[in-house]
């Protein structure tokens, strides 16, 4: 721990420099990245399994995307929104039965062995398809990976699989791990899951439970002159309020994933030396959704669902719960998605009188105490915002005569109550949109999903027409036809309201001014940080 504490002299020197920098205001903006330095970052959770090929989630990527690389990364200006990482090019066959990847030459694993197409084949067939939370769906028809030479991997599918889907899945689902490390023994129990070996710009150095993760520079990285940083340290700060204080005290230089509470941003943006950055999360959109249990006879009635949609003041939610750091939602695809979003869907303006009229029409008249019926409302506990929206929704429902009783659970109990036991009437959930509706969005409304699958349709909703549309889209190869089908999907969901999309939000980073090249791609916080640098 001693090497992480800040010496008094260092602090004095730092503040002297800060004073000097304010005295000389025009240092200029176009700075060339400096080499060296240790970046200290706040981490609010401590994932035990750090293998992104198995656990494709943002909490794991935040740390391990610097160590283990994917075939391609999201990019704001690259073709199809991608830029090459381990793969240099990708080509889908016209029949949808194969995708050919040309791999980067001269890449070495952290243990010195060369990276080859065999590693890609192993990762895809042995990990992404059978073990990965998201890969199970996307790669379900992957039958084989041919490796004609060391730098070519050809994915063969048993059924036509849209190339657009594979492309959109690359940034999050294609982490490549070394075959020679995982070949022996059970993959789930491999020690490299806790101390990952990859090809990325940083190597895993150590983890002290409850204290920090430390990554060191990979001198043999394939990127020219990269990485710039010598070390990245993830300081574990589980308490959200402490991240802001640690930034102000210069104990950390970066707090990503909204580690600083939204309510503090206004104040912190005025602190000299700190900047608030809203970019760098465009590819990680969370959706605030009201999940509905269609087994309740009241909620199975479309008029009641419409009434609830009309009772929610989305602008109020964005303004008050998210303090403006969000957007109102119209349907199951977020507005910031460049490929699929359509605004041409039925919308539900905030209108309490109309909501009341709809409920009267549906036959649920107010009783003498002004109440129509009672509901159980389970707000997901993962975010402050989901809990606060739960409080708001209870009030919004009270205004239309629905008496909602809030039931609070911890994360594990919430997942069990909603996705396994179905012991809810309404739930507030934060599903993630991952660049393609087929990855994690259609399962929110599709029927026939077994009990216990988290973040899927567990509300008993069944719509044959919608199921058919989803099935058709999953085997449509033509990109524009597929996109059209998903536009139709958005219209149908917005019209029939299997769930109610309220808002879309992403995260905020707060960093010291000295950290350069922040937020330069749509998944920056979970990208490899090879070009991130420190000025002082």
């Amino acid at each position: 721990m001693s090497e992480l504490t800040i010496s008094r002299r260092g602090l004095l020197a730092g503040s002297a420099l800060l004073l000097a920098s304010t005295a000389l205001p025009t240092i200029g903006f176009a700075q060339t990245p400096k080499k060296g330095g240790r970046l200290i970052v706040a981490a609010d959770s401590e994932p035990r399994n750090l293998n992104p090929a198995i656990v494709a989630s943002n909490g794991v990527f935040f740390i391990s995307s610097k160590i283990v690389e994917t075939l391609a990364e999201a990019s704001s200006d690259g073709k199809d929104g991608l830029e090459p990482r381990l793969a240099l090019s990708w080509e889908g066959a016209a029949d949808g039965l194969s995708v050919t990847f040309k791999l980067r030459e001269g890449v070495k694993w952290h243990d010195g062995k060369p990276f080859t197409s065999a590693d890609v084949a192993f990762s895809a067939l042995q990990i992404w398809k059978p073990l990965q939370n998201l890969g199970r769906t996307v790669f379900k028809d992957l039958a084989a990976v041919d490796t004609p030479d060391e730098l070519t991997a050809i994915f063969k599918f048993a059924k036509p699989t849209p190339f657009q889907l594979i492309r959109n899945a690359l940034p999050a689902l294609s982490s490549v791990v070394p075959k020679h490390v995982y070949a022996v023994g059970k993959i789930e129990d491999n020690p490299a899951n806790n101390a990952p070996v990859g090809t990325g710009p940083f190597k895993f150095a150590e983890y002290k439970a409850g204290q920090y993760y430390r990554l060191t520079k990979n001198d043999a990285y394939w990127g020219k002159d990269e990485p710039y940083l010598d070390e990245i340290v993830y300081q574990v700060l589980p308490d959200r309020t402490s991240a802001a204080a640690a930034l102000e005290a210069e104990e950390i230089q970066l707090a990503a994933f909204s580690a600083v509470p939204l309510a503090d941003l206004d104040r912190i943006s005025k602190v000299p030396g700190l900047k608030v950055i809203t970019k760098g999360y465009e590819g990680l959109t969370y959706q605030l959704v009201v999940e509905i249990n269609h087994r309740r006879k009241e909620l199975a009635d479309l008029k009641v669902r419409q009434a609830i949609a009309h009772a929610i003041d989305k602008d109020f939610v964005v303004k008050t719960v998210f303090l403006g750091y969000a957007a109102t939602a119209t349907g199951p695809v977020p507005k910031n998605d460049p490929q699929f979003y359509t605004a041409d869907v039925p919308t539900y303006a905030f209108d309490v009188a109309k909501a009341n009229a709809l409920l009267d029409e549906a036959g649920y008249k107010r009783a003498d105490d002004g109440k129509r019926f009672a509901l159980k409302l389970l707000p997901a506990p993962y975010f402050n915002e989901t809990k606060q929206f739960g409080d708001y929704l209870r009030q919004a429902l009270a205004a239309i005569g629905i008496d909602a009783e809030i039931v609070n659970n911890d994360s594990a109990a919430h997942i069990k109550a909603v996705y396994t036991d179905h012991a809810f009437d309404l739930a507030v959930g934060p599903p993630v949109f991952r660049g393609d509706p087929a990855i994690s969005t259609t399962i929110l409304v599709q029927s026939g999903i077994p009990d216990g699958v988290p973040f899927s349709n567990q509300g008993g909703y069944k719509n044959a027409e919608l199921d058919a549309l989803i099935a058709k889209a999953s085997e449509t190869l033509d990109t524009s036809a597929r996109t059209e089908l998903y536009k139709e999907f958005q219209k149908k969901v917005a019209a029939d309201l299997p769930l109610i999309n309220v808002a879309e939000w992403s995260f905020i980073s707060v960093a010291r001014d000295t950290v350069g090249n922040i937020a330069n791609n749509p998944r920056w916080a979970v990208s490899n940080w090879a070009d991130t640098y420190l000025e002082s």
Binding site: R240, T241, A244, P261, A263, D264, D266, R267, T320, V321, P381, N384, Q388, D391, Y392, R394, Q395, A398, E405, I406, V407, N408, N409, D410
Partner: protein
Amino acid sequence: MSRLHRFFRTPEAIAGALILALLVAMALAAPLLFPGDPQAIAGPALLPPFQDWSLPLGTDRLGRDVLAELFHGARTSLAVGLAAAAAALLIGAAVGTLAGFASGLLDEVLMRVTDAFQTVPSFLLALAFVSIVGPSLGVVVAAIALSAWTGPARVARAEVLSIRERDYVAGARIIGMHPLEIAFREVLPNALPPVLALSSVIVAAAILTEAALSFLGLGDPNRVTWGGMIAEGRTVLRTAPFLSIVPGVALVLTVLGVYLAGEGVVESTAVRRSLS
């Protein structure tokens, strides 16, 4: 000198009684002064106190009236505190009397059970209970009572042990009263005063435990509680400190009031004892 007079002799007791009276008045007046749901959205979010006189203490992150929440929170705090203390005293006195009066095996069993409860930190016990059964007002009361009954049980047993040797107890035995009747009709009433003296401590602890449970998100989410208000305010501590300070001060004053009044009661009975 009447008991009331003796009670009001010390300034601490007067202060305690005044605070308690204020609290009770707040709790009783809450539905009259602030009818309807105190959690209803009443104005713009995060309005600071003393800006708008219709919302004198400002609003929280969703725009709920802090003053209304404070008044309704007093109801919850007081109800939980009193109910939990009453339950704890009831269980404690019953267990203590049975153990003390029966002696032998039953005494051993009951006192070892009491020991077992005492070795687990009481807050941990309440926490575990609520997180398993699920948070609601009744469960919270039960959880606090469960962690607080051991003190009264021990005191009651000690009292009963000395009382049961008295002549009138022997007399009751001779006239053929049922042992349980003797225990609960003859012995218990005389063993009660020192047990009741514990009540102020228990009420104060119960109010604090309830606040702590709510603070950790284990209170009844459908009711306003001061602990829940502090927890809500904590996320915006730097920008809107009043959201935590207002209920925090109310909590401190309440516990102080209960404690001072309790001290006053103990003192007045102590004076009576030394006089007699």
